[in-house]
Amino acid sequence: MITQYRSPTVLQLIRITTAFLIGAILVILFAAQTHAETPGLSITMSPSSTELHAKPGESATGTFTIVNQGTSSYPALLTVAPYHVEGVAYDPQFTLLPGTTDAASWVKLNTTESPTLGSNSTTTVTYTLNVPAGTAPGGYYAVIFAETNPTPNDSGITPHNRVGNILYITVDGTIEQKGTLKTPSSDTPGIIFGTNADLGVLVSNNGGLHFVTTANIKVKSLFGRTLFAGEFERYILPQTERLITTSWNNLPPIGIYTLSRDATIAGKVQSLPDRYIVIVQPWVLAFIAVIIILLGALAISSRRKKVSKEKETSDASV
């Protein structure tokens, strides 16, 4: 065994070097962790939807805020586009629906430049909605986009991040508001064998203005106990139908239940007729089948024994 003795100065140097190395490693690790946590390009918009009201020939103003919560600064590109939806799933489209008025052209952003958003900074933008005189009363729709506009710095794909503020514009006047609550075309089946059930309603707007519907979907047992309840608020645009769906998970093993559905349509509650749904889990079916087979086997065995016993008795008597 060799023991090395060093002078106090050498020991002090070793301690200092060791401390420095440990410190350096910690700094490198922390920096690496910080870098890993550093978000890329971030953009936030608030509000993400706005209700605006104006009479024909008049104007309204609104504001929105853009936040850059990331560490990279970028010029934010602001644009206004038309807005409509497609299908009952309400797939948003940012193009003009043929034959409709371009409400996007009514919106003027009160800034001519693309504001540069520094890291962790916020910008508020004001805009004016100028409704042309003679515009028919009703609902009109547009979307204001705020978009990151980075400069490509490498070979590959440069993503732009765009978030929208949907404008639900009401041009005041006499507007008919009406709609209906309907059963979805692919409604919940009467007998459910799975572990989940899709429940839904179809809300249609046959009027000239959007409304917010509150749809209620409930499932109750025959004794009145609520097993599932969901409340859903959705915008319904004029001359569209919107499918509102939810999923009831972890269904009970077996039973008969009542499905009740209602929704507010243009301020009035409409209901669908209550429906009975039967739930049978596959394992319950398998269990019942096994019981039936067992009972059958037992009956056959019992009958065979009885026949055999009768035969033995008749043989003995002979």
Binding site: T44, S46, S48, D91, S155, R162, F232
Partner: protein, 202 residues
């Protein structure tokens, strides 16, 4: 004795008055208390974050062709109870990866009918969306062209829907894969293209 009784009467009357006064004070105070209603209106908010400034698709081409696959993570948060929709489309009219006068064309596949890559094309895929199949896609760098299916990033006016939800979202992530397949007929250079992720509330 009489004096004592009078004194006691006074004492009792005084005490009773004091008691009434004591009881009356909180009653009066209660009557003066005004109710304050705390009201708070939360604005709907949507945010979008991507992990990459640029998704690098560097490749060292070979005669038979190589494939590079890289991903971008898109994170969306919203307090809108109806959820959000995330779309992907081209930022400009160009659908090709461009390097000066040279270009690598977009895949001929679509989101509903994506195709395996052929040399000198690029595209995107999201596992489990449209016709892409479940995946799981993994990153590759200048490897032999595989059977993983890709689609062209659609035009600005008709972006593809990547995600649609029906409830609030907190840092919901979507992994978007980009694939480049090239052979030695593609001129060397720095090829770029810009895509736009659009997030709106439902």
């Amino acid at each position: 004795m009489l004096y004592s009784l009078k004194l006691n009467k006074k004492l009792i009357a005084g005490s009773a008055l004091s008691l009434i006064a004591l009881l009356a004070v909180p009653v009066t105070a209660s009557a003066l208390t005004t109710g304050t209603t705390i009201s708070s209106s939360l604005s709907p908010v949507i945010s979008l974050l991507t992990s990459n400034g640029t998704v690098s698709l560097n490749a060292i081409p070979s005669g038979s062709g190589v494939q590079t696959i890289a991903s971008d993570t898109v994170t969306v948060s919203t307090n809108n109870s109806a959820g959000y929709t995330l779309k992907l489309g081209e930022t400009t009219a160009s659908s090709s990866l461009v390097s000066g006068g040279d270009s690598i064309v977009a895949s001929t596949g679509t989101q509903t009918s994506p195709i395996a890559q052929t040399a000198n094309s690029w595209g995107y895929r999201v596992d489990g969306v449209g016709g892409f199949g479940a995946g799981t896609t993994s990153a590759a760098s200048s490897q032999a062209i595989g059977a993983v299916k890709f689609a062209a990033v659609p035009a600005t006016a008709s972006p593809d829907t990547l995600v649609t939800t029906s409830t609030t979202a907190s840092n919901a992530t979507t992994t978007v894969w980009y694939g480049l397949a090239v052979n030695t007929t593609a001129a060397n250079g720095t090829y770029t293209n810009s895509v736009t992720y659009t997030a709106t509330t439902n």
